[in-house]
Symmetry: C2
Subunit: 275 residues, 2 copies
Amino acid sequence: MKPVTADRISLNTATVKAQWGLAECIEGAARHGFGGISPWRDVLAEMGTTAAARAIRDAGLAVSGLCRGGWYTAEGALTQAVMDDNRRAVDEAAELGAACLVMVVGGLSEGSKDLPAARAIVAEGLARTLEHARGAGVPIAIEPLHPMYAADRACVNTTAQALDLCDALGEGIGLALDAYHVWWDPELAAQIARAGRERLLAFHVCDWLVPTRDLLTDRGMMGDGVVDLKGFRGMVEAQGFEGLVEVEIFSARDWWARDADEVLATVAARCLEHC
Amino acid sequence: MKPVTADRISLNTATVKAQWGLAECIEGAARHGFGGISPWRDVLAEMGTTAAARAIRDAGLAVSGLCRGGWYTAEGALTQAVMDDNRRAVDEAAELGAACLVMVVGGLSEGSKDLPAARAIVAEGLARTLEHARGAGVPIAIEPLHPMYAADRACVNTTAQALDLCDALGEGIGLALDAYHVWWDPELAAQIARAGRERLLAFHVCDWLVPTRDLLTDRGMMGDGVVDLKGFRGMVEAQGFEGLVEVEIFSARDWWARDADEVLATVAARCLEHC
């Protein structure tokens, strides 16, 4: 495998969300020689999509994805507000020229214990958004989230489940595979092979810390945890994936508390050594 | 479905581990009219297996399981110490007349990132323990643990994966299904049907809290979380499972801090209402 040099890294803005807005992320990613960026929609909204698209283009960065659409279950049904928000997310991704729109699909609806019902809402919501996304030329990337988020963030929790959705929905939809969410899966190798190049739209890395002290904000820098990231990249690239390695680390107690340039320098060094 | 009256409940001793030793658990379970108990081996060792077996029998309680054997990866290989400990666990389960020996199989070995290697150690370890267990008449119950424990507790993380192991290993081995660990699984219904009556050896309940504040010790009392426990029991009992409903709640910030009799009374009320 080719080493993950800085030009092959994409900075997910959540990695330095406590330190930098989007303009600083764009400048910082370029300054550290990164190949791309992946903005979250909150920082994108602050900067404005048109201004952001121009700044990213001027900085010579690719957009490995836009985080995120989805949350189909947020209102218990596919309301106009939910569908409109996803439509806007598609349009923003198109304006940015993003490689995909990443979908965090939503968990159980408020007060519900019915996971199959949540999953049915998600399937229908994805189908509807996909129609618009195809027209806009934006690939939709379902991100299976770790099962510990099934209740409150995403009820798509395995690669197999996400691929079943892709199979049902047809062209224009695939996966955003984040090592943090799927590394544990005994079917991982088989499901990555099943996905193939066409369905592999994004590849995210961080690391699983032992112990993990918080379910949401205690992700590790690559090399500080137990995930075989080189092995994971090998499986993805064996299918022909040629996209950027996107680094997305939620770390309230560690990396969000450091100087952002130190974080990016560490990301570059760790990708080279551990990814 | 028949309601879960107290006589259909088994008290897993971990539920009141901060308050009671095994003798108090036996007396308490009997006092609250529970049908059984499931001791952990630490409290069993304190009381002594022979004394515990007698006290449990005298109290009229069944033993829904012994927690736990396994930890095959603890020393990086199947050392004599690891295998001997599992042999002793089988013998203790036999002396207690336990319905099964519950296996928490172990996670990654120290310093390893190789999950497939850990899983191979576990498969071989289970095969060896199973030989002894068959002779002793003790059913082995693999407990698939939530994927958030893949690194540090158990690298068997789905019901399908546990059943694949059962299929490979043959007679005398099945599942301990804990709602907390498997409730999120999109394949749950299909895999419970695949297991069938013969492989369903134990059925554990508690609840998944939103938010969950600690990966290990923030499990919820039935009804306080989002798991469809009635639906889960329905699937298990539809296969013919007739064992006790074992209540196992790790709750450092709540139930471990309460009076143990209050906990048992709450367990009884909640099982009736929510399980």
